[in-house]
């Protein structure tokens, strides 16, 4: 079917299309570099968050002895590691487009998107764990099984829990958005296969 097509004539017609897109200038280079810097800053910001989580984990380990401190520290340490890794995978800039194939690029973006969804799910589970922890604190307090400090109970009930509920809701929206992006990337990757 395509053999009957006068492709040479079409190519000639194509090359006569108006090519009035202005050549770039040094301002364009500065603007693109600025976007790249912003992307890097986002990554560094998330790394800073991971470092703060790691420091808090160490602090908890030494200042909150017992199973509670151990579990919390482990929880935070895992969060710090996953945040740093995911941030690197998602935000690291591509510096040499000439070393990639189109298919490779798409697979890279697809994997980054999948990792992003997994990270959102992990964070949602972390929020859920904090909600359960607050519930356990209340059970301990109401049944007087343990001496739970009132300030801790109020902090987790009035600040941490609402923030977690809001976080789960917002992350669910982001997961939905990423699912759409992933479907788009799957279709593109299949097209390039």
């Amino acid at each position: 079917m395509a053999d009957n097509f006068d492709f040479d004539a079409l190519a000639k017609s194509w090359q006569q299309q108006p090519a009035d897109e202005a050549a770039p200038s040094t301002t364009d280079l500065a603007e693109a570099s600025q976007r790249l810097r912003e992307q890097k800053l986002l990554m560094y910001g998330e790394w800073l968050g991971a470092v703060i989580m790691a420091i808090t984990a160490v602090w908890l380990l030494f200042n909150l002895p017992g199973w509670l401190g151990g579990v919390s520290a482990l929880f935070l340490a895992l969060g710090a590691l996953s945040t740093a890794y995911i941030s690197w995978q998602i935000h690291r800039p591509i510096l040499a487009y000439d070393n990639w194939s189109s298919n490779g690029l798409l697979q890279f973006r697809r994997r980054a998107c999948q990792l992003n969804v997994q990270h959102y799910r992990y964070t949602q589970l972390s929020c859920l764990a904090l909600l359960l922890f607050t519930l356990v604190l209340w059970i301990l307090h109401l049944w007087q099984l343990d001496d739970t400090p009132l300030t801790m109970l109020l902090f987790y009930s009035l600040i941490v829990s609402p923030a977690c509920v809001f976080g789960i809701y917002r992350l669910q929206k982001k997961v939905h958005q990423k699912a759409i992006e992933l479907a788009h990337l799957d279709a593109l990757a299949a097209d390039f296969d």
Binding site: S13, P18, E21, D28
Partner: protein, 174 residues
């Protein structure tokens, strides 16, 4: 360290010169892949930056034209992947009007045909559009294979598929 600004300026000048040499092909690739003018401007800037970063390798490349198009098309694919703008959008009114205004009345038919071709190219799937754009710029199969990092056989298959899709779109657009 002192020579860095000079080498940066050299890289900019080299890329600008290369861009001017291939201005038509790059412009057409931009127009075919991104209908939204603001997003097209971003894409152009990203391509310029990518070329700037690869300036030394571009200078040393055996086939600089193929090397240039590999970067142009890879940045474009990445743009499509991130922006989800692969679906065709109508030509922006300003450009459409400008194209018609610039055109003498005896060539108006040709101009409309040209717009129909642009529409059809924009409607192609991203992979087919990529290969057809390269073929329409008179790049041969080995160059296309080098740009897309695929075998000659795969280029032939993809090009055939793309031509068929383009022909169907052109016929449906009439």
């Amino acid at each position: 360290m002192i020579s860095a600004p000079n080498s940066g300026q050299n890289a900019t000048n080299f890329v600008l010169k290369l861009w001017q040499q291939h201005q038509g092909a790059i412009s057409r690739a931009l127009l075919a892949n991104e209908a939204d003018p603001a997003a097209r401007q971003d894409l152009k800037q990203d391509i310029f930056l990518a070329l700037h970063q690869a300036a030394d390798r571009l200078k040393a490349a055996e086939m600089p034209r193929a090397y240039l198009f590999r970067i142009v098309h890879n940045v474009t694919v990445d743009h499509i992947a991130r922006a989800q703008r692969h679906k065709w959008q109508p030509l922006d009114d300003e450009l459409q009007q400008q194209m018609l205004d610039d055109c003498p009345s005896e060539l108006l038919g040709e101009q409309q045909q040209s717009q129909q071709l642009m529409r059809a190219v924009r409607q192609l799937s991203a992979a087919n559009r990529q290969v057809i754009l390269l073929a329409m710029e008179d790049l041969d199969a080995p160059e296309i294979a080098d740009i897309l990092q695929i075998s000659h056989g795969a280029v032939r298959v993809r090009l055939n598929r793309a031509k068929t899709e383009l022909m169907e779109l052109m016929q449906n657009g009439r």
